[in-house]
Subunit: 189 residues, 2 copies
């Protein structure tokens, strides 16, 4: 479970409330690691009980800001350098592509156009943020440097998916003869 470590990592930047963290997850981390507020509040109280974080201040509307402790900082560092990376890359878009042969060619074409548009949009959005960072708008703190690296991943991955969707539109649909020819594949990729 990486939500725990995601929260610790964000809190390493400075104190924040559950509400703040939920917004940051939705705005910045959402595309690579979704997390809704119920999970976040629950995890925060668990982290608090474990001594990884503690209440930093109480604010206006029952607001509770948390601060990371030394134990928490040690834990997030340990995760980063010791725990094995889980490389699974869940993507419904790609999953669907295994089944494109079941789709009506016109539907598929329309689907791919929409996918291309979507991925391009996200890539451009990330490019915009990256350009702002490069112009120095977010300062030179080490966290923003890491943010820039993450943005670069988003730009590259989403652009590659946009290019893929564009390319897929050029693949001709199955001809009737091929459609008849339907053997079981031996054991492909």
């Amino acid at each position: 479970m990486s939500l725990r470590h995601g929260l610790l990592g964000l809190l390493a930047e400075g104190p924040a409330s559950g509400y703040d963290l939920a917004r940051r997850f939705e705005e910045h981390l959402g595309p690579v690691w979704p997390a809704q507020h119920p999970k976040i509040y629950a995890e925060l109280s668990r982290l608090s009980k474990a001594g990884m974080i503690e209440v930093d201040s109480h604010g206006p509307r029952g607001r509770k800001a948390y601060r990371i402790t030394d134990a928490g900082r040690a834990e997030v560092r340990r995760w980063l350098s010791e725990d094995a990376v889980d490389h699974t890359l869940r993507s419904e878009s790609v999953l669907r592509s295994f089944f494109f042969w079941l789709m009506d060619p016109d539907d598929l074409h329309e689907h791919l156009r929409r996918e291309q548009r979507y991925f391009t949009e996200i890539a451009d959005l990330a490019r915009g943020y990256a350009a702002a960072k490069d112009r120095g708008e977010y300062g030179t703190a080490p966290q923003t440097k890491s943010m820039r690296v993450a943005l670069e991943a988003a730009i590259r991955v989403y652009q590659s998916l946009a290019d893929w969707a564009e390319w897929a539109q050029t693949v001709p649909p199955a001809t009737p003869e091929e459609d008849a020819d339907t053997p079981r594949p031996p054991t492909p990729a």
Copy 2:
């Protein structure tokens, strides 16, 4: 939940047992949609109860092969053309990159080298399968054409991640001055 539709999609190619499906998920769909056998068997009995699939044949060791029904075929087609695509792209690799600034520079460099190696390996593996498909080794059936499209996504995405990991190694670590300069970022990406 797309496991349901993934199973239906695979069964649309022809009858298969839970064991077969588990292997195909692990070998082919695993990188984009992991599924373990307990989930698969459970889902198969649910699909069977719902009339989307039915038992096609009984084999040697209690083997039960399922066949998709018309209702099942209609459902997977409906999913493909009507249901909105969930675009979240869960990636622990990218999530970690938000917190690179917490890592020791040498650890980080080593981490990025490992990541680059891993992503390159997967991209090459996909390239190998794609080349075999292009040589005609898997025939010309429409399913294998879709498989080729999915492979292309894998090649492009994993290569882009490998390139990203390589690029990230060229980003200089934070200098001590910048480290001191640690303001809260306004509201970045």
